[in-house]
Symmetry: C2
Subunit: 473 residues, 2 copies
């Protein structure tokens, strides 16, 4: 059971009607690919966030850029919101029809259009998921590193500027999207960027669209960078006497410029939940999960240096994994954390935080927040892409108990305020969506948000593209 | 002697008057820091491009963000253009007062504001030059890698999305600017971004401003990423029997994912010019200049692999340099190329090209263009950041002979058309400025340029921020 949205996020005046004439026009254009069945609408009206809103009035399944353009043109004609939908893994309410409107499902646009292995690029339709992409390019010896955990679509990952475990070495969608095809709010098809690795050709529309959360257009093609599969990969797990010891080790690794590919923190709570759920039998202490990519020589150098740094902070029980199977076992702890946590408190929902701070501030930000969470009595799990200064608390609340939500939101507020004081951001990778609109203003200032609003109004004068997300206009 | 601008870039109706009342107000506010002396105006009314336009009507020397905001507010009040000026190294006419107005010189805003060595970031005023920055952070063991050749300002490099020799490993200003302070067209001060390494907090205003060429606001503070000075650096020069051999070697280096820090092509023409000018005594054959950064082990691995690849294409005479002095000598060939070329034809101007293509298309793009340039009879030099697929011809024309300019522009047109056919861009790093406005439309399409125009109108409704650059509105 999800909580209803707070009233200020769902003003009644904003609930726009979908005129029957639009539904008729969509049915005429898309036939059975336009559904008004409640079950379909409900499935498209929620995501992994803990909020609820009335479902969209229809779902259109697009199979081509032309489908998207036609759907947007019809919606524009009737002044009705359009909410792009991939596989629904948003954590921030991006997919909720808070102002009504139609859901535009692009999951059937799932073809890999061009593999340019010799240029380390690939062009895909937006509904291709990251696992599908890696499967389809396997034979090239290349891979796409961005891994937000969920098997999200490349379109959705672009729209939310996703990142995840490999970002510490390979960057985020910001660094890895080269070019887009976008259907604008008027239904026009534009291209941003080329396959050239760099460009100074006018405004960076690619990066304006990346992270715009569907509010400026619908992404219909994405060209991303690929990387050669490393010659050698080695993964290790190391437990520490305290979170602080793990974090101080991470800070030193980053400050020394070690090109570590992954460095993930898992707190002892989470290890216990994962052990209970998967029988991995891990030491129930804070862990760092690490991965090193490179030539055999470079991997060895990195691993030795990191082991030395960990030793200095009491790290112990380095367990190494070099085969894919061993690595999968180690990474299971990280990948199962969310579900193990949810199952540790039956019926609970998780309220996720997403702050990201400069690496030198990580210990301050994390340790005070852990102390607050411990004192609150709300169970939680804590995982983090700590090499980037980014971490997530998941406060596990009983949705039937508003007081638990209140405590969790209070913790989140204190954490965000702390992160901003430490020159960080309220969201490292999940996006603003509905949940962080107020934080955005605190973080960037009213002037910057007003500038975003000006851009929004200029590119979407009817305010039909996923309205009510990022900022209220 | 620079050529007058083509008429279509300088429509008379666009020459806006600077009312005497604005000059009086600027004098009242800035006293001797507002100059109307012709010599000062002329110095601020040109750059390294080959075009000329009437100088700005005044130059204001800003010493603070407040100075910038006040100057912009006054200009806005009188509806007069403002052209930000750093050190004037633009190659594309960015600094020309094509619609009249005032030049806003930020070169005195040259303080390093905050060195956060532990986070690998630094925050500077826009007038800090890249060499000054590296000098001031020397003691931290960190460096700022972006090197466009000229000792440009960090503000100007941000505004034009500059890159240069190290971009193949470290990225461009696009990847390395974390946050900006910007004075908007209404004189308001906003901040984009934080010091966090990544963020999903709303529209990416940072990257919208990076590369906007002064048309959306004046950059008054820049936070950039720094990198640990590599433990080991090794540079090498290698000559090849043909440009093709050098280019094929480069393509293999990139496709294998070698993390080479620099790989620069210099053609035999340019080597001859540099030898004549500096007595370096280099073999007069196409050269690759390379630099490897990393641990001693990794540098050795990289160098051995590249040497093997070069051998496969007939590369010879690898000359290695490991001390800073030896490296400086090798790099002199690259850094002196432009001036050596200019001096090879007294009185000449260089018309620079800046195409960038996917690495697999580099040989096709380059070799056909070399054949055309050779056939034209116009002397030229050719250097390239070939690891990124980016290269520059400099066609050396006599500005008193319009027919030479016409031939050079014809070569440039053919080259750009070729690069676009090969899925590349007309500008890898110099920006659009005045010279590539038509190419931009061909490259991105009218729809994308119209979107840029919508953003421009929304953020600068009076069209006072460096108007007439990137696109005509």
């Amino acid at each position: 059971m999800n909580a209803p949205l707070p009233q200020h996020l769902l003003p009644e005046i904003r609930q726009r009607e979908t005129p029957p004439a639009l539904l008729e026009a969509l049915k005429a254009r898309f036939a059975e690919r336009c559904s008004t069945a409640l079950v379909v609408r409900e499935q498209h009206g929620r995501d992994e966030s803990s909020f609820a809103a009335p479902p969209p009035s229809a779902v259109v399944f697009a199979e081509s850029t032309l489908d998207v353009a036609d759907a947007v043109k019809l919606a524009s004609q009737f002044n009705v919101p359009v909410i792009p939908f991939g596989v629904g893994t948003s954590l921030e309410g991006h997919l909720l029809a808070v102002q009504g409107g139609i859901s535009l499902d692009v999951s059937r646009m799932n073809r890999v259009l061009a593999i340019n292995a010799e240029d380390l690029t690939v062009t895909v339709q937006p509904g291709v998921t990251r696992k599908q992409l890696n499967e389809e390019i396997k034979s090239t010896g290349l891979f796409f590193p961005i891994d937000p955990g969920a098997d999200a679509t490349i379109g959705g990952m672009s729209a939310t500027r996703a990142s995840g475990t490999n970002a510490v070495r390979y960057g985020t969608m910001r660094e890895n999207v080269l070019a887009l095809e976008v259907v604008t709010a008027s239904g026009e098809v534009i291209r941003t960027g080329t396959r050239a690795k760099k460009s100074a050709a006018g405004y960076d529309l690619t990066r304006l669209m990346v992270g715009s959360e569907g509010t400026l257009g619908v992404i219909t093609e994405v060209t991303v960078r690929l990387y050669p599969l490393p010659e050698a990969i080695s993964a290790a797990i190391c437990s520490f006497p305290s979170i602080e010891a793990a974090v101080r080790t991470t800070i030193e690794v980053i400050q020394l410029g070690v090109p570590i590919a992954r460095v993930e923190l898992i707190d002892a709570n989470t290890v216990r939940m994962v052990n209970a759920n998967t029988k991995l039998g891990l030491r129930e202490e804070p862990l760092l999960l690490m991965e090193f990519h490179g030539t055999p020589g470079s991997v060895k150098e990195q691993a030795e240096l990191v082991q030395e740094l960990a030793d200095g902070h009491g790290g112990n029980a380095f367990e190494w994994a070099s085969t894919p199977e061993e690595r999968t076992r180690l990474w299971a702890a990280r990948h199962n954390a969310y579900f193990a946590a949810i199952q540790s408190k039956p019926g609970c929902r998780s309220i996720s935080t997403d702050t990201c701070v400069p690496i030198s501030r990580l210990a301050d930000c994390l340790l005070e927040s852990v102390a607050e969470a411990d004192a609150s009595g709300i169970p939680y799990f804590l995982v983090g892409h700590v090499g980037d200064g980014n971490f997530h608390f998941g406060y596990l609340i009983d949705p039937a108990k508003p007081e638990e939500r209140e405590i969790a939101e209070g913790l989140n507020h204190q954490l965000v305020a702390r992160a901003l004081r430490l020159e960080g951001t309220c969201t490292g990778e999940h996006g603003v969506g509905l949940h962080k609109m107020d934080f955005l203003v605190t973080e960037t200032g009213a002037g910057a948000v007003a500038m975003m609003g000006s851009i929004k109004r200029a590119l979407d004068p009817k305010n039909i593209m996923n309205p009510g997300k990022i900022f209220s206009i």
